[in-house]
Structures are given as structure tokens and as C-alpha cells.
Point group: C2
Chain length 360, copies 2
């Protein structure tokens, strides 16, 4: 496989061509004396399918038509052209904007949105219609991604960054993570943890040396940029990715969104999901085995666990067993509960045992 000479420029050209193509299709309709119409893939629940081969949610093949022949759709068509044009300018000038900024910019279009929800949905319409993620279109999420600590060398523009030398809080994955090049690394795996408390614990106990690993601090639900980063280390660097979260339904969910994507983002899961990533813990079995301090499952936890049991992403035996076991013991535990045995225990005992178990 030959590598493109300048992958960034190539991607930029592809996106611009997609956007131009959208405009051209309208022009073509007009010149053929037809009513300009767009096919917009449906993002409704009926069109979100779990793909067993890909191991994540994808969009099915249903779509809706948006036509200038329908009075109710004229404004939406016009807004879509404006958004497309705005994105084309962003990509051409190598700038980005937040959805919030675009909403304010749209005040000058003479066909403004009634609220930001409307402009957000239109941006998603554009994503699915042209088949490009919002990041490709220059529409960046506000939120930064996770913190990364460990021996990897990255390049952003002219700047080289060593995530072992970015301070104790590590390198922050920026929303523009796709423009970051992986220059080199000296690790064997990646361990992502839910809380920054655990991230700092692992840095302090030198887990990056002990396990020859990158440490990724997710800060709760993983941002898009984080998921993209984990996908890239998994596919480009072929590194195994492990996720260690709190032992509760929310921790399971955070891991699963990284692994198999969310239904809501079915149209971009091919860029974001990392089906080879593995959930390391905290499992219900860990709670029992390590006699962790626990909290009782709340009613909402029980309901959530029962939902997860029916979710296709949790179909494999290990997940089913762990969900059943958690319901049976009626308890949940936080990552930091290992401190019961001293601050070092999690790095000195728990992680080595779990890694041994999962890698052998």
C-alpha cells in the first residue's frame, strides 16, 4: 500500500470535493430543469443497525428526501448550502470553528436558525449527506480529549511533542487529533482509565514504566477526540488498548462506547469505534475477588444493567456473566477503592494480575 505524499492535504482535497459535489448536484438539477433534491441518510432509530462483522453500530440504507419543491424544506435547503459553504471556507483556510460559533455566524445569513439545536442537527445532516465527519468539515467539538502520559512522540504542525515530557498531567488530545502525526513510540500497550485520580496514581507509581504503557485519562465519558486517538493507536500503531473504569453500569457504558461506538453517532463509528479494545475492569468478579469497598446498586443502576444485558454490544459471554454477577451481588465499586490496600496496590498487584489474565 503506497502512502499518500501529504495525507493531510489529500484529506482536505477530498472534503472540499465532497462539498463541491453537493453544490454541483443542486446546479445539475437546476440545469436539467429538475427540482433540486438531496438524499439525506436517516439517523432515526429504525435506521441504526448493529453490524456484527464490524462490531459497532452503523447506519442502514434508509434515507429521506429534502427538496426545493417542498415549501417547508426550502429554508432548510438554503441553510444547508450556507453551512456547506461555511465549511468549505473553513477547510480551505485550514481553520476550525465550534458549532456555537457557526450558530452565531449564521446570524448574517438572513436565514438564521431558531436555536442552536437546529444548527447542530443541520451540521449532522451535512456529515451524513457528504460522508465526512464534523472534524473533517472543520466543525470542532469544544471539549478537549483525554490526557496521555507515556513514551510516544507526536507531531502537530511543526511542533514535536513527547507525551512523557509534557508535565505530570500529560499531553492533552486536541479536538484536531486527526492532524497529529504519530512519529514514534516505545510502548507495548495503552491503558485508559476513567478518572484523573487514577491517571495521577498511575503516573506517580510509574505504571508507564512498569507496564511499558501509555496511560490515558478519559475524564469520564470519552470525548470524540479521545475515541479517535484510541482508534488510531489501535489501527495505525497496532497497540492493544485496555480500558479500566469504575465497576458500575456507567463505567461499563464508557468502555463500550469506546469499543463499539454509540447508536447516536452510528454515522461516524467507523472513525471512532475501537472494536479490538478490551475492558479490563473493574468487573463484578473483581469486586468479589479483591473484596473491594462497595456501594449498593441503586434502582437506576439495576435498571441500567438490565438494559445493557439486552444491548447487542454486550452480547458476548463475558459481559453477560459480569452483568448477571453484578445484579446478583447488588454492589458496585469505584476504581479508587483499591486504595483500601494502600495507594500502590492498584499498580503493584491489580494491574499485573489483570494484564496477565487478559494477555495470556
Amino acid at each position: 500500500m503506497s502512502k499518500p505524499l501529504n495525507p493531510k492535504k489529500e484529506k482536505k482535497d477530498i472534503t472540499i470535493n465532497k462539498l463541491k459535489g453537493l453544490g454541483q448536484s443542486i446546479v445539475d438539477d437546476v440545469s436539467k430543469n429538475e427540482i433540486p433534491t438531496l438524499n439525506i441518510p436517516s439517523r432515526g432509530t429504525g435506521n441504526i443497525v448493529y453490524d456484527e462483522d464490524k462490531r459497532y453500530y452503523v447506519l442502514g440504507d434508509r434515507y429521506g428526501k429534502r427538496s426545493l419543491g417542498n415549501v417547508k424544506q426550502i429554508k432548510k435547503m438554503g441553510q444547508m448550502m450556507h453551512v456547506s459553504n461555511f465549511c468549505k471556507n473553513l477547510v480551505s483556510t485550514e481553520k476550525t470553528a465550534t458549532l456555537r460559533e457557526m450558530y452565531y455566524v449564521s446570524e448574517g445569513w438572513g436565514m438564521g436558525f431558531s436555536d442552536q439545536n437546529e444548527s447542530n442537527i443541520l451540521a449532522e445532516d451535512l456529515e451524513v449527506t457528504v460522508g465526512a465527519s464534523r472534524e473533517d468539515l472543520g466543525l470542532m467539538p469544544e471539549e478537549d480529549g483525554a490526557s496521555v502520559y507515556g513514551d510516544i512522540l507526536l507531531k502537530e504542525g511543526d511542533v514535536e511533542i513527547n507525551a512523557l515530557k509534557s508535565g505530570k498531567s500529560g499531553y492533552t488530545i486536541s479536538p484536531t487529533i486527526d492532524e497529529v502525526e504519530f512519529i514514534g513510540h516505545n510502548v507495548e500497550r495503552v491503558i485508559a482509565v476513567e478518572t484523573m485520580g487514577m491517571f495521577h496514581r498511575m503516573v506517580q507509581e510509574e505504571a508507564y514504566k512498569k507496564f511499558n504503557t501509555l496511560i490515558v485519562g478519559l475524564k469520564g465519558q470519552a470525548a470524540r477526540a479521545t475515541r479517535r486517538f484510541l482508534k488510531r493507536v489501535s489501527t495505525e500503531l497496532k497497540l492493544p488498548v485496555y480500558i479500566c473504569n469504575d465497576g458500575d453500569p456507567w463505567g461499563f457504558h464508557i468502555a463500550m462506547v469506546i469499543i463499539s461506538g454509540s447508536a447516536k453517532l452510528a454515522h461516524v463509528n467507523h472513525d471512532l469505534a475501537t472494536p479490538d479494545a478490551k475492558f479490563l475492569g473493574v468487573t463484578a468478579s473483581d469486586i468479589v475477588k479483591y473484596e473491594l469497598p462497595t456501594d449498593k446498586l441503586k434502582e437506576v443502576d439495576v435498571l441500567r444493567l438490565k438494559e445493557l444485558a439486552k444491548d447487542p454490544r454486550y452480547r458476548n459471554k463475558q459481559w453477560q456473566d459480569e452483568i448477571k454477577k453484578m445484579l446478583k451481588i447488588g454492589k458496585k465499586a469505584e476504581q479508587q477503592a483499591f486504595s483500601k490496600y494502600g495507594l500502590e496496590y492498584v499498580v503493584d498487584t491489580y494491574f499485573p494480575e489483570k494484564l496477565e489474565e487478559i494477555e495470556n
Copy 2:
């Protein structure tokens, strides 16, 4: 003024001595055949005073007694000795722990806390009693601080970090910010902004070059580490600090907590408040002058603004005028609303005009 040879070691020794002193006072009481008693400064609202000279909240001189002669207080005294000992070990071994970790560690003490709120309060008791911040005691907040972008060179342990070369999301202020040395810089000021959307806008428009400034992305309410960083750049580097937030009561409050501290943390405001920091905007006057897109003040905004008007921290004329004006126009505006005039406007027009106004 002679500089200590190793300020970090000196600080460590001071903290250890404070903790030893606490234990010694108990031993002394016992050897004098007196009932061991501690004086714990009160953190009740009646003992929180706004200090006009210092320009932030401080604790008054009221205190409560905690005595081993009072059956109800025996457990609390014992817990305090355990927490002190735990902190002494942290500081001696140059480790840190989160409050959550300490809560779990306390399971082994045989006089555990009934919930984490109880152990958090006890940690605060210890802070005020020995006169050391929780960070000095090794008890770190979980949350990281703000993002910093710009020409400053920092040193954490053996690692030198250039906040201009840490990636587009900048250098993340770690909870252990007091261990970071300022090696050098080439800036004239610091501009802190409320949202990461505005942070990325400023990085993209090269505001760090145009205004020779550090850009600090607060991510909403500033973390303790962020406040400590801003205090340090203000006092150690003598840099003017400006804060630009959303133009609403919440944005005002975020700025004011940086400037004059919070009542709740009156016992550590001397480490955290930056009374010389200035609120740049968005003001009610800006909303009118720049004809910004606005939202109507909600009832809760109006109530909050009326509270702020009575708060001693907002006593000066400028704040009083701006609060009155916002109530009069009945409107609020977000930082990103400047995008109405194009993405570059905020950096090309708004900031230069505001800086000119405030610096001349």
C-alpha cells in the same frame, strides 16, 4: 531577600514540622496530665470576613475546641491524628493522594468515616488547624487545571515544558502546580478565557503573538490549580492577568472567584486569590456597544445579579454599574457571540479595543 536554596524541600520540611507539632501538642498535654485539646479555627459563615486591604475573604479569629475529654469528640480526634499521620507519610515520600483515596485508605484505620463528606471535612479541619493547604498536605484535587498556551518555560522535576510547544490544546496545569518552577517567559500579560471554544479561537488567530500573551482556557469555574497558577504568574512574574468570560452572572462569578476568592475557601484565599487580576469582559456595556446576539436574562439570572450587587467583592463602581446595566437591558451574551462579525473579530477587534481601554 535571600532565596532558599531548595524551596521545595524547605516547604516540605515546614509542612512536616507543622504536622509533627500537632502530634506533639497532644503528647505535651498528656505529659502535663492535661486533657488533650485542639483549637480549630471556625469555618462557619460568622467567621468569614471580607478583608478590605487584602481584597479577599479571610477567616476571622473564632475557633472551636476539640477535646479528648468530650466523649463525642474522641473519634474525631483519633481520625484527625490518622489523617495527619497519613499526610505526613505522603509529604515525606513525596507522594500525593486524592481525598477519595484517603477515604478508602481510612477503611484500615479501625475508625473509618461514615461517608466521604465526613473525611473531606476532616481534611479541611486539618488544613485550618495546621495552616497548610491540602496541596501542601499531599491531598490533591482530582481535577486538572486550565490549559495554557504561550511562550513560557516551566520545569516539573527534570522535565522542561514550553507551553508554546505542547500541542494545540496547550500545557495542562497539574494539581501539583506548586512544584512547577517558572524558568522563563517572553510575554507581557495573561488572558484567561472561560471556554475552550474561545481558547482554541485565540490559538488559531495567533492571539498569543498579537498580544504577546499567555492564553489560559479556564474550562468554566477555575480549578484550585488554575487559581494558584494565576496567583503565581501575577505575584512571581508580575504579569497583569485579564479574565474574559461570558457576559452573564455566572461569568462574573467565575472571574470574581479568581480575583477575590470564594467565601467557602476563606482559609486558603491567601494562596489562591489574585486581587490584581482584572475582568476584561464580556460586560453589559460590551453587549450594548458591540450589539451582540443575546439571550434574555432568566429569573435565576436576575436574582443572582441582585445577590452580586450586595456582595462586598463587587463593591467598586465599575462592577456596580455593569450589574445595574445588565439588569436594565435584561440581557446576557456569550463570549462566542462575537462570531456574528466573523470568526476573527474577537481577536482582531474586540480584544485590542478592550486591552487599550484597560491598560491606558
